[in-house]
């Protein structure tokens, strides 16, 4: 345990030194969720190598294992309202995160491909933040969550039917490798 902590300290320090050479300076924002994002800017350890499926870990050992394995939440057209049916699963994941403050997760927001790409980035962020709000309300520290909106740039479905659009409109919770 102690060795792991030292390794973490060395990793974080060396990546901060490396990053100091190349990142632009910016002011930290005060809003809770964005503080969580800025925490990630300073941790070079997580900046690359995240495939779509990386960090996926079964929660079979926890009593909420079955519920928390649902990590994709779907949204109605032009809406960022979380479906009631998804709330138990989100809350189960909240408990997993809240009970382990060193665990980190990313929340992706997505839209269907219709309309303006940049406006869809804005919509996607609203969807991811709607899920994030449930997590933080359940005691997850905002520093454990990073929100990223992909808008319509990473569609779940190549097709253009209503069923395809429904699969595209989603928020996705991804646990990150420590």
């Amino acid at each position: 345990m102690k060795l792991k902590k030292w390794i973490q300290i060395i990793l974080v320090s060396s990546s901060i030194i490396a990053l100091a050479a190349c990142t632009t300076k910016h002011k930290q924002d005060e809003l809770a969720i964005n503080d969580g994002n800025s925490g990630y800017n300073d941790e070079g350890a997580q900046s690359s190598g995240l495939g779509d499926e990386s960090g996926y870990r079964d929660q079979a050992s926890s009593r909420n294992g079955h519920l928390s394995s649902n990590r994709t939440y779907y949204f109605d057209f032009d809406s960022n309202a979380v479906h009631d049916a998804d709330k138990p699963a989100i809350e189960a994941n909240a408990e997993a995160l809240a009970s382990n403050p060193s665990k980190k997760a990313m929340l992706e927001g997505h839209t269907d491909p219709r309309g303006s790409r940049e406006y869809n980035i804005g919509l996607g962020e609203r969807r991811a933040k709607a899920v994030a709000q449930i997590l933080t309300a359940k005691g997850v520290n905002h520093k454990q969550i990073r929100v990223v909106s992909y808008g319509a740039e990473k569609l779940a479905s190549q097709g253009h039917s209503e069923a395809d659009y429904q699969r595209d409109r989603r928020g996705v919770l991804i646990y990150l490798q420590q």
Binding site: T24, H26, S48, G115, S116, I121, E125
Partner: protein, 414 residues
Amino acid sequence: MRKLFSTMLFVIAVSIPFSAFAMLSMELTRGVSGAIPIAVVPFEGSESAPQNVSAIVTNDLQNSGRFKVSTGRSDNTVVGRVSVLGGDQYEVSFKLLDSLGGKDNSRAVMSKKYTVPGRELRAISHHISDLIYQQITGTRGVFSTRLAYVVVQHGEPGQRRYILEVADQDGYNPRPLLNSPEPIMSPSWAPNGKQIAYVSFENKQAGIYIHNVVTGYRTLVSRFPGINGAPAWSKDGRKLALVLSKSGSPNIYIMDIATRHLTQITNDFYINTEPAWAPSGRSLLFTSNRSGGPQIYQVNLASHAISRVTYDGNYNARGSYTPDGNHVAMIHSVSGIYSIAILDLDSGVVRVVSSRSTDSASPSVAPNGSMVLYDTVIGGRNMLGIVSSDGRIQLLLPARNGEAQDPAWSPYLS
């Protein structure tokens, strides 16, 4: 180590050997009836040069939709010659003849001669097309401009590649600027045509880069927490309007590129995005959902006063001015179909110019204001389209190596 490897993957050198085939193929789907007849007689000595100059001029004029090109004689006739000078140098000369004085009385209204190396034969052909186009129509040609766009290659699941490419306006000479496993969006040309700003999701986070098209060197200019999006160059090339959500929701900012100093322009909790500069430089158009759904607004940069521009329909987004400042090209939804439309600011009339049977987006106006470049879906496949601002001329440009989207028309480059 892993990070270094991924970084190397992302940055690709600009110059790749000239490609004989267009990566974007261009297909004229509807031309203007009453197109101007012109004859382009195959240039003498054409077969001696690596590029067929008169064939390129023919394609340029034909694809503009304004001309009906033949090879025989006509009221307007282009004749010319290509001579080999040796040492990969060629002399290209042409005459534009009109026969308004009668069939045997054709006179040259334009006559020019150039010496160019082999690698510039396409460029000189496009320049000749520009001259002929302007001489006859009175409008400056855009045959020497370029298109930037994103190609998406799907491959295996989880193996998507996104490539930012620049090609000639006729689809030839595609060159990749960036090749990434994560999305690239919103390319925006600097007014000098030498740099492109864009959004890249490398490292699973949005960042705005400025990329030198000539050298391939690039700089990260914005990577705040949250959204970094929709970069738009000011006309003097010194500022970028952009979108950041570091305040909690997406707002419009202006960044001084040299100092990186930010000025916040909108300050609320709506989705505010897609800034576009007015030709005067004194205001921006932007998209906002402050009245429910997305509409286009204008903000005065001195007073920050906001006024609404679009009232027709329940979805209007991605507005940009034509160069004369009299029209706004945009995405406009009618009965659930997203189309490209042009708003006449004087009359308030909105005219849909893209096909009404499919969704379109990402309009980008040509520097002569006569055409709009956009992306659309045909047969389930994303591709680029070009439509004249009156809707009468339509072209499709599918990519040969994937699906093309999110295009940006360069400024005049010569």
